[in-house]
């Protein structure tokens, strides 16, 4: 199954892209997405436990994904 990964702000700069598609096995969780992202060049500058949102909702590491999910890796927010 394919999920879309979104990267923003400092993470997009660090990893050199703002969006990628990942092909995962059925039953994969947020943790596996983070594992893939961590293998990218520049990912050593990401914090150990970045915030993640699935389909625009903050999500836990163990959330199971389904095909077509939008997984966003969220840098420390700084609105206001």
């Amino acid at each position: 199954m394919t999920v879309t990964v979104l990267l923003f702000a400092s993470y997009a700069d660090t990893l050199g892209k703002s969006q990628l598609e990942l092909d995962l096995t059925s039953g994969a969780t947020v943790s596996e997405v983070l594992g893939h992202v961590r293998a990218m060049p520049g990912a050593e500058r990401l914090p150990p436990a970045p915030l993640v949102a699935v389909n625009e909702r903050y999500a836990r590491r163990d959330q199971v994904l389904i095909a077509g999910d939008e997984v966003a890796i969220i840098p420390p927010v700084a609105g206001g």
Partner: protein, 146 residues
């Protein structure tokens, strides 16, 4: 209740007009502005960006929570995105309530939650020509949902 992410200047007078109702005895307008110095570094401007669809949803959730907690539906929030210079309004929150206590509580709740939860980022531009992403309250959210 209404919230918007906007690419243009915020019309704060229009926000106040929007929350005005005869039942309200207290009206508050909070405006966040770009400061000329941050952490001792002189700033020339800030570029705001967002995960737009989620940010809109999250602000709408916050307003709904404030409305339920503090008992007013007269809450309007606008947050600006893009390039801002010193003194520009980055966020404005208008709240009207029957009583001042509820108005202060609701206004405070909205700005504090917005800073903790809404996926908006700022890239600060400094006088020396460098730029840096500003990290803020994100870690607290990370702790909360881990």
């Amino acid at each position: 209740m209404r919230s918007t992410l906007t690419d243009g200047p915020i019309d704060t007078a229009a926000l106040l007009a929007e929350v005005a109702r005869g039942a309200n005895g207290a009206t508050l307008l909070f405006i966040g502005t770009v400061r000329e110095v941050n952490d001792d570094r002189p700033v020339t401007g800030i570029e705001y960006s967002a995960y737009r669809s989620m940010a809109e949803r999250e602000i709408a959730d916050i307003i709904r929570e404030a409305s339920e907690k503090f008992g007013t539906s007269d809450i309007v929030v606008e947050h600006r995105l893009g390039e801002l210079t010193i003194g520009d309004a980055s966020v404005a929150i208008a709240v009207a309530h029957a009583r001042r206590g509820g108005a202060y509580d609701a206004s405070r709740y909205v700005i504090e939650q917005l800073k903790k939860r809404v996926p908006i980022w700022k890239l600060e531009h400094y006088v020396d020509g460098t730029r840096e992403w500003v990290g803020a309250a994100g870690q607290r959210v990370a702790e909360a949902i881990k």
